[in-house]
Amino acid sequence: MATFIIRRLTWAVIVTLVITILVFLLFFKTPGIDPARQMAGRNPDPQTIAAIKHEFGLDRSLPVQYALMMKRMFISRDLISYQYHNKVIPQLVDAAPVTFSLVLGASILWIVGAIVIGVAAAVLRGTIFDPLLMVISLIGISIPVFWLGEVANLITQDRLHDSVFSWVPPLGYVPLTQDPWQWFLHLVIPWFVLSVLYIGFYARVLRANLIETEGEDYVRTARAKGISEERVMFRHTLRTSLITFVSLFGLDFGILVAGSTLLVEVVFNLHGIGYLTYNSLTRLDLPVIMATVIYGAIFIVFANAIVDILYARLDPRVRPT
């Protein structure tokens, strides 16, 4: 187990390193892209560009530039954004809680929702409710999340804002430490919108797993012992089926926290990691891009490690002896 973890972590570090180099080269070596020109604004004169190049170290050789950027990111922690001329690390620190709050709430919703729908569909197999629940889940998977967000905004901010949804505050984010109740109110609708896709997907996976587990010998044995149907479902079938569920959840959680929430963040004007990444990418703000990419890679690695440990905890068959 220890060697496995060390190997996985080494590989993850290599991946992160290679990705930063690739992103760096992509933005510096692609002909036609010049960060200095980007910073100088419209119709700059050559002196301004040269001055900017010197100021940001863009006139040095590429390996030196790369090393400088990494040093300022990790050691002196004073990496400066090309676009806004402010420090990058504090921007990340400000954005991370927003994305965390969004993903945390949504993941609670999607775990509960998916287990309820998945178990209901498996229990009701043979009735009309099973295919009905599965088609509803499939519709959930088929909805573009940003469009769902806009429709939710249309309903809660405008059409029904005077009646049912008068409690929905304007778009934006309020920190948990500042006002927990407002934090909750601002995030309820984004949580629902983000979780719909995952509820649909996880419910389908869980149902398939439950039905597969139903055929196992130990479930038959449990029934033969005279255990109640509820106990068979919750103590035996569901517990085994949740193993896949947990490993999928870890990976999705990591990818979302790493910034894949950007569509929801853009629609609901939540200035989280995804929003920051998207803004920096479209403005070619390389220091911020590099910082968010490394941040994201670290979270994906972290999520993978947790998944492996949980997997071993949940499934005695892969527990190291």
């Binding site: 590989w11 993850a12 991946v15 992160t16 290679v18 990705i19 992103v23 992509l26 933005f27 692609t30 002909p31 036609g32 892209i33 295919p131 088609v135 499939l138 519709i139 998977i141 088929s142 909805i143 573009p144 999340v145 940003f146 469009w147 769902l148 806009e150 429709v151 905004n153 249309l154 901010q157 405008d158 997907f201 389908r204 996976v205 398939a208 797993n209 597969e212 055929g215 896949t244 999928l248 990976l251 990818i255 790493a258 910034g259 894949s260 950007l262 569509l263 853009v266 990444t277 998207y278 990418l281 479209t282 070619l284 891009i289 990419v293 994201g296 890679a297 994906i300």
Partner: protein, 351 residues
């Protein structure tokens, strides 16, 4: 579990409710086609998808002969006839507080059926034109992803060893980058440099090929993994050994022996891949880094509609409904194709 007295072939498996005598002697493809044909939900998905394709490709017919409107050129100062009265397409001062410009809302008639966008273009016709781009990019990029993934998967699985490790690590590397971030990075770079110049091939920044290629490339690892797994297992089969003993060339082994046996894995994934690529295209276009003007796609129309969301919500709602219907139909079809080709398969996970 039901016990089958007769197994036609060890490889062939029976679908639920299928009797062994009925499938004996049938070719696997014919069997799969019959299973798919009998799956009413999957056929409904197929019909819905074909209907959407047909309607989208008839966009010029709708615009020119039914609606008599232009979906592509701005029509800010134009007029149209509603209930026998001539009205302006963009009403000045029609916005909130009597200020600003307000495009015409749904007329529920052939012209401007669901209203106009900010440039006075007929949204209904535009949604059909947008569907053409979305479907072309979705299908094109899914085909690109499947083609490249099959080639890489065949090479990696057939040669194994160092080749396999190198290719698999490369795929892992792409995989470690969240899909949307990778797509945004590539799109931004290509759009900033005004398109792609590669030898004699030049692609303009507004070319539909750019999003098609980007989306195709980022999904290669998703298809490559299952293909590689299949190749690795098929390569161990006796008939491959037999072909090697007969002195078959590598070329012949890959294309005549292995490829026909792994192609079902790709076919099963294709409808689900198209569903995924259509959603990705919509997301990129919504972020204005997918389809570029003057072309429209469902994603760009939703983006146009965002500014009009509270006054003219149909501009954003209509293309979204089209996306949901298209993706849903493909998912239904994909489930059916999987059940038809591989009736005992478990639900395949996204990764």
């Amino acid at each position: 579990m039901a016990e089958f007295a007769y197994e036609p072939e060890p490889e062939l498996s029976l679908g639920p409710g299928e009797r062994a005598e009925a499938v004996a002697g049938q070719s696997p493809w014919r069997l799969a086609a019959r299973r798919l044909w009998r799956n009413r939900v999957a056929m409904a998905g197929l019909v819905l998808f074909l209907l959407i394709v047909l309607v989208s490709f008839l966009a010029p017919v709708y615009a020119n002969h039914i609606a008599h409107t232009d979906a592509l050129q701005p029509n800010v100062n134009g007029t149209t006839v509603v209930n026998g009265k001539t009205v302006e397409v963009i009403q000045q001062g029609g916005g909130p507080l009597g200020l600003g410009e307000n495009p015409i809302g749904p007329t529920w008639q052939t012209n401007y059926f669901i209203g106009a966008d900010q440039n006075g273009r007929d949204v209904a016709a535009r949604v059909l034109y947008g569907g053409r781009s979305s479907l072309l990019i979705g299908i094109g990029s899914a085909l690109i992803a499947c083609l490249i993934a099959t080639i890489i998967g065949l090479i990696a699985g057939f040669f194994r060893g160092l080749t396999d490790s190198a290719l698999s690590r490369l795929m892992d590397l792409i995989w470690a980058f969240p899909v949307y971030l990778l797509a945004i990075t590539l799109s931004t770079v290509l759009l900033t440099t005004n398109g792609l110049q590669w030898g004699p091939i030049h692609l303009d920044a507004s070319s539909l090929w750019i999003p098609t290629i980007i989306i195709g490339v980022i999904y290669v690892p998703y298809v490559m993994r299952p293909v590689r797994g299949q190749v690795l297992s098929v390569r161990e089969k006796e008939f491959v050994d037999a072909a090697i003993a007969q002195g078959a060339s590598n070329w012949r082994l890959v294309f005549s022996e292995i490829l026909p046996n792994i192609i079902t894995a790709v076919i099963v994934l294709l409808p689900l891949m198209i569903a995924t690529t259509i959603l990705t295209e919509a997301a990129l276009s919504y972020l204005s880094i997918g389809v570029q003007p003057p072309n429209a796609s469902w994603g760009t129309i939703i983006q146009d509609g965002q500014a009009l969301l509270y006054t003219r919500p149909w501009v954003a709602i209509a293309p979204g409904i089209m996306i949901v219907l298209t993706v849903l139909s493909l998912n239904l079809l994909g489930d059916g194709v999987r059940d038809a080709l591989d009736p005992r398969a478990k639900v395949r996970l996204r990764k």
